[in-house]
């Protein structure tokens, strides 16, 4: 099922909608958001200069750092009383990236998620288990609301507690699973380990995955774990843009359809910031159209991908983005949570007993991401007892947990045992291959 007629319009009509909304957006941000007005003035562009879609290139970029500089709500365009929901995601340092929604924004968002759920084959007949962590992240409540919109029955399970996950899958006749692909693989294997055959003992047939990329080898593994009946699609979004609902794969599995009447995608060379022609690999830049609370123009997502404009067998005419090919920056995705090494560094530098050098190792064990941070012990007072050393280890872990929202492993080593760098430090080693 195709949820909205806007997904199937001829290109000229899609572009007409985009241009009309872009003009409004340029005027809206110039009038209401001072940081945008300042940037546009500095770039010498006025709202009335936006006459064609090409003119978008004259608009300044928006960066994740802008959220930090105007924390918490300096980029908002409406008064607090208009806001009906806040969410937050990782920032590059201690402060999160806070986003907000008016009632219209929520409606737009959840309709876009409904489109994505339909792309992945969901319908009113489905019983959906949401195994994303709830809380301030947009993933869980986004899919939750979108699936409710199409009339599916939603189970707000949240992440973790494998036994309970499996009990609900079985007892409630769950047909649709929402999770990160790595957690879904882990869950699938745990189910097999308990002697349950998903193809016979469960009704599951749809997986809607997000929070991290799903590679083709992961999709193959997913079929081995859950069975061939399991239709696995992934979708794309980020909280700054609205959350999930920006783009999603249809069951043709040939890229993620972008909801172009709400988002204009561009691909740029991250170094030169030049716009690249369709089909070229580069950084995805997204302009949101018609958002009230938090309009966003030319947002640098940091994600590397390609755009494809050929129409799809599914009947949708919207542009598709290829599976992500990595990041333009050093952001890591750990269990679906975005992590910036700078966040980790900020925590470590506040702990006096350890030195300023660190290394981050990311592996996938038993399908789940494990992040180990190695730090150098410098304070000899801790050698009075083993308890003091473990207390330090525990203190580092809990400081990181509250900063990142993730459990980490800590390895303490002797001073000077970590590599020193003269130029740009290479502190992160990511051993995950193809997401497996």
């Amino acid at each position: 099922m195709i949820w909205a007629k806007e997904e199937t319009l001829p290109r000229s009509e899609i572009e007409a909608i985009q241009l009309a909304k872009l003009k409004d957006t340029a005027r809206y941000i110039y009038d209401r958001v001072k940081p945008y007005r300042d940037k546009m003035d500095a770039a010498g562009v006025k709202p009335e200069d936006i006459r064609t879609l090409e003119d978008l290139r004259r608009m300044p970029f928006t960066y994740k750092a802008d959220f930090k500089d105007h924390y918490p709500d300096g980029l908002f365009a409406v008064d607090k009383k208009e806001i009906v929901r806040y969410h937050a995601s990782s920032g590059t340092t201690g402060k999160p990236t806070v986003v907000g929604y008016t009632r219209n924004d929520l409606d737009m968002w959840l309709n876009n998620v409904a489109r994505i759920a339909c792309m992945g084959g969901a319908s009113a007949d489905d019983v959906a288990q949401i195994s994303f962590g709830y809380g301030t992240f947009t993933g869980a409540l986004g899919l939750h609301g979108g699936l409710e919109k199409i009339g599916a029955s939603v189970i707000p399970m949240s992440s973790g507690n494998t036994n309970k996950q499996i009990m609900f899958l079985k007892d409630m006749g769950v047909t649709l699973l929402v999770a990160t692909p790595s957690y879904a693989l882990h869950l699938g294997e745990e189910i097999r380990n308990r002697g349950i055959d998903p193809t016979k003992d469960l009704k599951i047939h749809i997986g809607l995955f997000g929070g991290e990329g799903m590679t083709e080898p992961m999709r193959d593994e997913m079929h081995r774990a859950w069975g061939d009946q399991f239709v696995c699609t992934q979708n794309y979004g980020m909280s700054e843009l609205c959350g999930p609902g920006v783009a999603g794969e249809c069951t043709q599995l040939c890229g993620m359809h972008i909801n172009e009447d709400w988002f204009i995608p561009e691909i740029i060379d991250p170094e030169t910031e030049e716009v690249l022609p369709p089909g070229e690999l580069g950084e995805l830049v997204v302009t949101c159209l018609g958002k009230e609370a938090l309009p966003l123009v030319r947002y640098r997502t940091g994600d590397l991908t390609r755009l494809m404009y050929e129409s799809c067998k599914c009947g949708r005419t919207t542009c598709r983005m290829e599976n992500l090919s990595g990041r333009a920056d050093d952001m890591l995705v750990i269990r679906g949570v975005n992590v910036f090494p700078t966040q980790i560094e900020e925590v470590l530098l506040k702990i006096d007993e350890i030195g300023p050098h660190y290394e981050i190792l990311v592996e996938r064990k038993n399908r789940l991401d494990v992040m180990t941070i190695t730090v150098e012990l410098i304070d000899d007072r801790l050698l009075d007892s083993y308890a003091k050393l473990s207390e330090l280890e525990g203190r580092i872990k809990s400081a990181l947990k509250s900063q990142l929202g993730l459990a980490t492993q800590i390895r303490l080593v002797a001073p000077n045992s970590l590599k020193r760098f003269e130029g740009k430090a290479k502190r992160v080693t990511d051993l995950r291959k193809d997401g497996l």
Binding site: L377, I378, L383, L412, A414, P415
Partner: protein, 139 residues
Amino acid sequence: MIRQISVFVENQPGSMMKVTTVLTEAHINIRAISTFDTPEFGIMRLVVDEPARAKESLTQNGFVTRVSDVMGVELKDEKGNLNEMLKILADGQINVNYIYSFVIRAGKAPVMVFHTDDFEKAEQVLTDADVKLVEEEEL
């Protein structure tokens, strides 16, 4: 009181050997040694003839090293003597955090060293029970 040195070591092949190598090269004599089984890292504790110089050499070689006090007790090499000493401490409500013994001392009685949070009280109960405490100079 006896000064011991504590060295941070990772649980890896060769990590203790690196400590003893530094001490050997500095001509420092090791009298007692202890470590216990920990998953990733541990504390290697040693009694040496020159603790200050040992710390200096180890620190120069990049080891996190600490000098701290432990109590030494001389025991007769007879059955039940360790039990007797521990009973004295237990009766005095002294908690022993860790204990280890000296490597064989030619012609001399064995020595146990232990750590507690209340050295003063430990000294008192042991002295009251006529147990011989060993000072650093006597080693």
